[in-house]
């Protein structure tokens, strides 16, 4: 197995996530992009774990999954409450606080 292929894929996924976060306006889509970035990290962790022949990278990816799940709970709670208030989940509409 050549780890660099997986690392390149992980970097691409991470970049897609980061770019998506910056260009998309819907809070849910932006948040999904963050999840994509976390999963790109998971891929990198598992790849390195395999390359080193150690297990802790794979265990780490479980930790990351649990953390991501907890983050979804909190994030969706906030996004839904904003949506119910404003009837919009666009991050451009949340613009009362500035400068």
């Amino acid at each position: 197995m050549e780890p660099s292929y997986y690392l390149v894929l992980s970097a691409m996924l991470f970049t897609i996530g980061a770019v998506g976060f910056m260009v998309r306006r819907n809070a849910i889509v932006a948040f999904m992009c963050v999840e994509l970035m976390l999963n790109a990290c998971n891929l990198a962790l598992v790849t390195f774990s395999h390359a080193w022949g150690l297990l802790d990278g794979q265990v780490a990816s479980f930790f990351v999954m649990v953390v991501a799940a907890a983050e979804v709970v909190v994030g969706l709670a906030i996004i839904v409450s904003i949506y119910r208030t404003r009837r919009s989940a666009s991050v451009d509409d949340a613009n009362l606080l500035k400068f």
């Binding site: 809070a27 976390l38 150690l54 996004i79 119910r84 613009n95 606080l97």
Partner: protein, 588 residues
């Protein structure tokens, strides 16, 4: 096959365990206690937890029980004990602000029902039923647990998990303000989205550093850097990712843009908690990662850190000068102070003599001085009110010092400490961070820092001048009158109210964006007052009048303790400096 069970140093980790157990018990209390008893039970449980954890920390510290614990994932050393004690004390001070109910007419400053849409019938019913979210206490304890773990993590994976444990409850409590709920929800959304992005960068950095070192352990990372057998790219990308995550939490400049919005929108008690405790935990973790894990790369990151320190100090100070809102100004001041702390981090100097603070010691002292003053300053912000809640516009504060000399005096002490005027703890703190940057060979950075601290002193002193010497200006009464009439028909679509918005903006030029929200909030507050004022002990303030709200004993106690800490550490810094001096080296 033989499996050896891991051995945990339970006694040494007890402060962490106690805070976590207290938070879990708090969740249980929510489930089993009747609604009327929840608030006092939660308050009692929270402060009992903090007391026990504090006692355990101090006893462990005085017994010198240090060591790398929990299989290398938690490093309990002297800096950790220093940070834990600071977190528990300042956390308790900010939680005192959480308990304040008298200011709001007998209810807490948190939303009666977070799930209800602001201005809706549901919310009105919740207000009438006087429901409260006592969940804020377990949330704050979970966050405090995350901070304690974050500052002590000896392992990058534990650090990532701790980062999330400290952040997730904060995202929620930020969105829970009783008044100005739109602003509060917006603060929660911004903090959440940007925080999640920053932690994704942190995690990518962790993955790259794991690829470089083959271990999450900071000491193993250091050893791998010394051996230098892997690709430098992995190391550099990893360092960049991890620094982005940490500098976001510290609020250093390219990653600071969340700070003013979140600090302004969050309930002020929560802002006090974030400004003091999150800053302490984040800077302590930054120090640990850069000194223990990436110490071998010092020559690579020092110039970059120096640049960030200059940018952070300059941007924070320059933007703070332009602010007209006290809470927002304090947020920019928090950015500036992050810059001053980064000067010490850049220096990376070791203690060279018996009376010489290392970078770690100087930064820790700075964190305590800054944290105490900022809890106190935000406590004062909660006290200065008009009939609709907090009045944090600087114009509203004009001449307040003549009517309320004690409170204005306390606020001036905090401002003087922020500005670094002698006889306050801020002065000693600034001198020690500059000294450690100087002995680390960054004399030019010290010169820049001194110039920028003069610039920063300008806006702190301006607040004092406004408090004591400015004439109180009559507020634009049109806004309040307008809000009164617009009360009933304020719907969820506050963004599109052209006519009303135009009047408000005409009345208050310069606060255009905020006035819409304030107006909405005025409307909500006036609706609330009809149901609450009958039993409230609120002082009778006129329509445009600003005064000091009648608060419970807890808020005054927090202000008094913060003043005491600021002045005592300024006049007699010896004991704290001694502790910081001892806590100058991380255990590897």
């Amino acid at each position: 096959m033989e499996i050896t069970p891991p051995s945990l140093e339970y006694a040494r980790l007890m402060p962490l365990i106690v805070v976590f157990a207290g938070a879990c018990l708090g969740v249980l209390v929510e489930a089993v206690t009747p609604r009327s008893a929840r608030w006092p039970v939660q308050v009692g449980l929270t402060f009992l937890t903090l007391l026990v954890a504090g006692a355990l920390t101090v006893s462990g510290w005085s017994a010198g029980d240090v060591g790398i614990s929990a299989l290398g994932s938690v490093a309990v050393d002297l800096p950790t004990y220093f940070v834990w004690t600071a977190l528990l004390v300042l956390g308790a001070l900010s939680l005192l602000l959480f308990t304040e109910r008298r200011l709001n007419g007998g209810v807490s400053a948190f939303a009666p029902q977070a799930a209800a849409v602001p201005g809706s019938v549901d919310e009105e019913l919740a207000i009438r039923a006087r429901t409260e979210h006592s969940e804020v206490y377990p949330l704050a304890l979970f966050s405090l647990f995350g901070m304690m773990l974050f500052a002590a993590a000896g392992d990058l994976l534990v650090m990532f998990v701790a980062l999330e444990i400290l952040s997730l409850p904060l995202y929620l409590v930020c969105a829970l303000a009783r008044r100005r709920r739109l602003l509060s929800q917006e603060a929660g959304l911004k903090y959440f989205l940007l925080g999640a992005l920053a932690s994704a960068f942190f995690l990518y950095g962790v993955a790259m550093l794991y690829g470089y070192a083959g271990s999450f352990d900071l000491a193993a990372l250091d050893a791998a850097i010394s051996a230098g057998q892997q690709s430098t790219w992995l190391l550099l990308v990893g360092m960049a990712g991890v620094s982005i995550g940490l500098l976001f939490k510290v609020a250093a400049v390219p990653f600071h843009s969340w700070t003013p919005d979140v600090y302004t929108g969050a309930p002020t008690a929560v802002t006090a908690f974030m400004a003091s405790c999150t800053k302490i935990a984040a800077v302590a973790a930054l120090l640990r990662v850069f000194y223990v894990g990436l110490g071998g790369l010092r020559w690579d990151w020092q110039p970059l850190m120096a640049l960030l320190a200059v940018l952070t100090m300059a941007v924070g100070a320059l933007l703070a000068i332009t602010q007209t809102d006290v809470k927002r100004m304090l947020a920019y001041s928090s950015i500036t102070h992050a810059g001053f702390m980064l000067t010490a981090v850049t220096g990376a100097s070791l203690s060279s003599g018996a009376r010489d603070l290392s970078s770690v010691g100087a930064t820790l002292f700075y964190l305590v001085a800054y944290g105490a003053a900022s809890v106190g300053a935000f406590a004062v912000v909660t006290l200065i009110r008009d009939r609709n809640g907090e009045a944090s516009s600087l114009d509203d504060w004009a001449g307040l010092g003549r009517r309320h000399p004690w409170l204005a005096g306390a606020f001036s002490v905090f401002m003087l400490s922020f500005a670094g005027i002698p006889l306050t703890s801020g002065f000693i703190a600034k001198v020690s961070v500059f000294e450690s940057a100087w002995s680390g060979g960054y004399a030019w950075l010290v010169v820049v820092g001194v110039v920028l601290s003069l610039l920063a002193a300008y806006f702190y002193l301006r607040v004092i001048v406004t408090l004591f010497f400015a004439e109180p200006r009559p507020r634009a009464a049109a806004v309040t009158a307008d809000a009164g009439t617009a009360g009933p028909d304020v719907g969820p679509s506050s963004g599109a109210e052209p006519a009303g918005g135009a009047t408000a903006e005409a009345a208050e030029p310069g606060t255009g964006a905020l006035s819409l929200a304030t107006r909405r909030d005025d409307a909500a507050a006036s609706a609330e007052e009809t149901s609450v004022t009958s039993t409230a002990s609120r002082p009778e303030l006129g329509a445009g009048e600003v005064g000091v709200g009648r608060a419970g004993v807890a808020t005054y106690a927090a202000v008094a303790v913060a003043v005491a800490l600021t002045v005592v550490f300024g006049l007699v810094p010896g004991p704290l400096l001694e502790l910081a001096l001892q806590a100058s080296v991380f255990l590897r």
